[in-house]
Amino acid sequence: MLPTLRVENLNVNFTQRAAAIAAVRQVSLSVWPGECVGVVGESGSGKTQVFMAVMGLLAGNAAVDGSVRFGEEEILGLDRERLNSIRGSKLTMIFQDPMTSLTPHLKVGEQLAEVLVCHAGMSWSAARDAARRMLERVRVPEAQRRMNQYPHELSGGLRQRVMIGMSLLCDPALVVADEPTTALDVTVQAQIIELLRAVRAEVGMSLVLISHDLAVVAGLADRILVMYAGRVVESASAAGLFRQARHPYTAELLKCIPSLSGPRLERLPTLRGQPPRAGDELVGCAFAARCPRVAERCRVERPLLRDGGEGAAMACHYPLP
């Protein structure tokens, strides 16, 4: 079986004032058909940039190398026309901020329908019909009325439903959801996660869920990748990761998830220190400065991602058992 998406040795560098800043370093990952992969990391860990590179959405000052295969096709460095025939139809993305991610002066219906007009060659009236049915599928109440409204007339949750519906119009093989709930109220967050779960069961596409919040990813992902300072530091099944994290960074992150049961804490646990800045030249393990298990070897030799058994992998010299 071929993975839906295979990223190999991906590097993303930004040039800023003649200096190159590495945002993504040697990242490799696969997303299999029907699978939901959670990508977790702090801001600046490069998790979003990996998928910006996949979608061809990197800023103009970015240099990218490596390989991105979507199905059988290499899509990194593909010409714009060919890329445009893939993204938006078979490979789609949901963005973090639904308030600003829809075009303010176009009606919701038009923004949905244009995807079908563009990719499926539908007539506008057929596309509008299909768009309305999609709004009903993503549980937007009064779909017909919403079609003729502008984005600012919709609540944040509804707008994110519109974004999700937009991503599903052409039966995608892979949907990338970049922090889809971060800009929303907690109660709405739960609804959107629930919707993504339902849609996945219904459509059966692969889903990448990017989040800084392990708790958001926990309920949905089959497999979780943890990123730190532009690299994947741990990869494991969701169940395995929550049972026993192998990388100290993941273990520390898990400790930071507040729990409703258990003793009341005076302070929420936090991770000490700062992640390395993007421009820093790193020798050894990027997490060494914050790691409770740090040893001399960690500061001089960078640990490679290695097999940890049961499909798990971690980049650590002294992983947790």
Binding site: L57, L83, S101, T103, P104, E114, C118, H119
Partner: protein, 307 residues
Amino acid sequence: MLRYFLTRLAGAVPTVFVIVTITFFLIRAAPGGPFDQEQTLPPEIMANLQSAYGLDQPIWTQYGRYLGALARGDFGPSFKYKDFSVTELIGQGFPVTLELGTLAMALALILGVPIGTFAALRHNSAADYLTMSVAVVGIAIPSFVVLPFLGLLFGIYLHWLPVAGWEPASIKHLLLPVAALALPPLSVIARLVRGSMLEVLRSNYIRTAVAKGLPRRTLLLRHALRPALLPVASYLPPAVASIMTGSLVVESIAGLPGIGRYMVQGALNRDYTLVLGMVIIYSTLLILMGLIVDLLYAWLDPRVRLQ
């Protein structure tokens, strides 16, 4: 929409009234009068003239009479152009000025918007710097330099177009004046569009549109253009004002029978009614422009509400 338009139009009447009143008393406060000449007229003739034009009446009576005539659509007789009413003078010249101004405005928009977009798409390239530098020159050079230069080039050296003069319904005579008049607003619009387009292209919704795999044309025309035109809409009223004042220079150099010259000549000659007539025309035009801009805003950005 129509109701909004009519309400705003009705609201313009008091504005024009205030402008007329202020202008009426201001021009009267200026020293001298319409019949002052280097050789002073015999007192009897002066008295006759004064009474013929009603200038012997108290100023409040004159003001009342003027407003009464205005209410009937009569702008009064010109004090300087004998046997002509202000209505006739403006009626003859205004179509020429209006045509000149409309064409210049249209040219500025039709060229300025694509040039600005082009520069934004090639941000920080040589093409971007070149167009923006030319635009600065376009803003800086006054039309009384541009027009003779164009006349020299296209009229005298190349013999393509007439240097000056006017024939009804002849676009050839208008081309050079229109180009000279359009250059400054064209340059401003190009720079405005470049700036706003750069901002729009960096916005999240354009990123969404790119991720949707839309062709570049659709991306620019459907998603990026309208928000990028907002600053241009704000610039329209001052652009119209600058074209109206600019037409004074251009019309006199190109010998066009428009109304551009009446404003300054009228003020210098103390041709009270002519100045008032011009002020009324110009202020109405500007108020109308402001109204159009408001409607334009609502179209460009549906979050703007008309009420």
